[in-house]
Subunit: 239 residues, 2 copies
DNA sequence: TCCGCGCAGATCGTCAGACGATCATACTGT
DNA sequence: ACAGTATGATCGTCTGACGATCTGCGCGGA
C-alpha cells in the first residue's frame, strides 16, 4: 500500500493482487461494520489518506462506492459521515428484508446440496453455541452473518445476495440492538432452528414464511428497543 | 461544463447547481437507458473525457457509481463496458422485482392520497394511449417508467425505490424485448389496468398479487423472446 | 509461406499537487 | 456585547505524470 511500483510481494502465482481500491474498500467497510467507525462519525478525506497511505483519488473512489452501498452519506460541501439510519428507514428496510430473505430461503431449499444444508445446520449450531455461551453482541452478530453467508451461498442468487448484503449493512446498528433485547436472543435461535428444520424437510414455502416472520420479529424487537431510548447516542452529539 | 471557475450561467436563485459529477452521471445513465450506449459497448475514459469535456477524475467517479448500479461492468485491466445481462441474471432479477413491486403497490394502496391514485390512473391512461397509438417501443418503455415513477412516489418507500430503480436499469434490455413480444403489449395494458382498479378499490393484497403476476408474465414473455434468438446481437459481435 | 516473438500503442490504476468555492469559527473593532 | 471580517478546514474538480497490463502488428526465422 505504498508506492505502486515496488510490485509489492509474493502473491499466489497466477492470481492477481486485489486492486488497491478494493483493499481500501474492505478495510473501511469492515471498520464500519465492526463499529470501529461509528454512525455519524465524520470521514475526512485527508485523515483517511494519512491513515491508509493511499492517495486522495483512491479514497474518493472508495467513498463513492460506500455511498452507493448506503454505508456512508455525504453532506454536500461538508463531507462524508458514516450513515445514520432513521427509525422509518429501518422499518422500511426490514420490510424489504422480510420479503427478500423469504425468497432467499425458498431458493436455498430448492437448490442447496445436501452438503450445503449440512453447513447451514452447522452454522446454526455455532450461532446457538455462541448465544448459550453468552458471547458478546458483536460475536453474535458475526455468527449470524455467517449463517446468512451460508444461506446466500447455497441460494445461488447473486443479485439477491448483493441487495441483501447492502441492506444488512444499512441496518447493522439495529441488528445489534435487536440482539441485545433481553430474551430476544433465545427467540432468535428458536426461530432460526425452525427455519433450518423446514429447510431440511425441503419445505420451501414453510421455510420462507418462517423466515419472513423471523425478520418481522427481529424488526419489532430492534425498533422497540430503539424507541425506548428516544435517541441514539451518536458521535459528536451531547446529551 | 468547461472550467469550473467561470461559474457558468443563470441558475434558479437560491438553488445550487447540481455538482458536475451528478450532471455527467445523468447524461451517461440516460444514454445507457435510451440505448444510445448499447450493452457491451466499451466506455473508454479518454473518449468520455473528450465528449463530455470534464476531467478523467470526474469520469472515473461517475463510472464507479454506474458500476455500483450495475449499469456498467469493468473488466480489470481492460476497461468499462455497458453491462450485458445473462438470461439467468435476468430471471433472478425478475423474481426479485416480482416480490418487491408487490410490496410497492401494497404500500401505495395504503398510503397514496386520492390525488396520487388519480395520477396513477392518468399515467395508466397515457400508457394505454401510447400502446393503442402504436408508439415506438422506446416510447412505450418511457410510459411505463412514468407509471412506475408515480407508483413509487406514492408508495413513500425510498429504500425500495432505490432498489427497484437499480433493478429496472439492469433489465432494461429485457423490458424492451418483452414489450415487443406480439400481443404482449395488450396484455400488459390489461394487467396494469387491473392493478390500478384494485388500487382504487384499496385492495392492497389483491393489487400486490396482481402486480407480482404481472411481473412474472412480463418476465416470461421477455425471456421467451430472448431464448428464441439464442443470442443477443451485441456491439462488437459478428454473426 | 507461415509461425512465433517482441515491441509499440492504448488504456487503466494510482499518485502528486494545485486552485477556487463553501462553510465554520475565531478574532477584532466599535 | 455584537456584527463583520479574516482565517482555516474541507470539498469538488482539474492537470499532468508514470508504471503495469493487454493487444495487435510487424519482423525475422523455419
Amino acid at each position: 500500500m505504498s508506492t505502486p511500483s515496488e510490485s509489492w510481494n509474493v502473491i499466489p502465482p497466477g492470481r492477481v493482487a486485489a486492486p488497491l481500491r478494493d483493499q481500501v474498500l474492505n478495510v473501511i467497510r469492515q471498520a464500519i461494520m465492526n463499529f470501529e467507525l461509528k454512525p455519524g462519525q465524520r470521514l475526512i478525506e485527508r485523515e483517511l489518506v494519512e491513515q491508509l497511505a493511499v492517495s486522495r483519488t483512491t479514497i474518493r473512489e472508495v467513498l463513492t462506492v460506500l455511498v452507493s452501498d448506503g454505508l456512508v452519506t455525504v453532506i454536500p460541501q461538508k463531507g462524508a459521515i458514516v450513515s445514520v439510519i432513521t427509525t422509518d428507514e429501518a422499518r422500511d428496510i426490514y420490510e424489504i428484508r422480510s420479503s427478500l430473505e423469504a425468497l432467499a430461503v425458498a431458493r436455498f431449499t430448492e437448490r442447496a446440496s445436501a452438503d450445503e444444508i449440512l453447513l447451514l445446520r452447522q452454522s446454526f449450531h455455532e450461532l446457538k453455541q455462541a448465544t448459550d455461551d453468552g458471547e458478546s453482541k458483536l460475536d453474535l452478530l458475526r455468527s449470524k452473518d455467517n449463517f446468512y453467508g451460508v444461506l446466500l451461498a447455497g441460494a445461488r442468487f447473486p443479485s439477491l445476495t448483493q441487495i441483501l448484503t447492502m441492506l444488512q449493512g444499512r441496518v447493522r446498528v439495529l441488528r445489534l440492538t435487536s440482539l441485545s433485547a433481553p430474551g430476544r436472543s433465545k427467540e432468535t435461535v428458536e426461530e432460526i432452528g425452525r427455519i433450518v428444520a423446514l429447510v431440511e424437510a425441503r419445505d420451501g414455502n414453510g421455510a420462507a414464511e418462517a423466515m419472513a416472520a423471523h425478520v418481522r420479529n427481529a424488526a419489532q424487537a430492534g425498533l422497540t428497543k430503539i424507541a425506548e431510548r428516544e435517541k441514539i447516542r451518536l458521535v459528536g452529539e451531547e446529551s
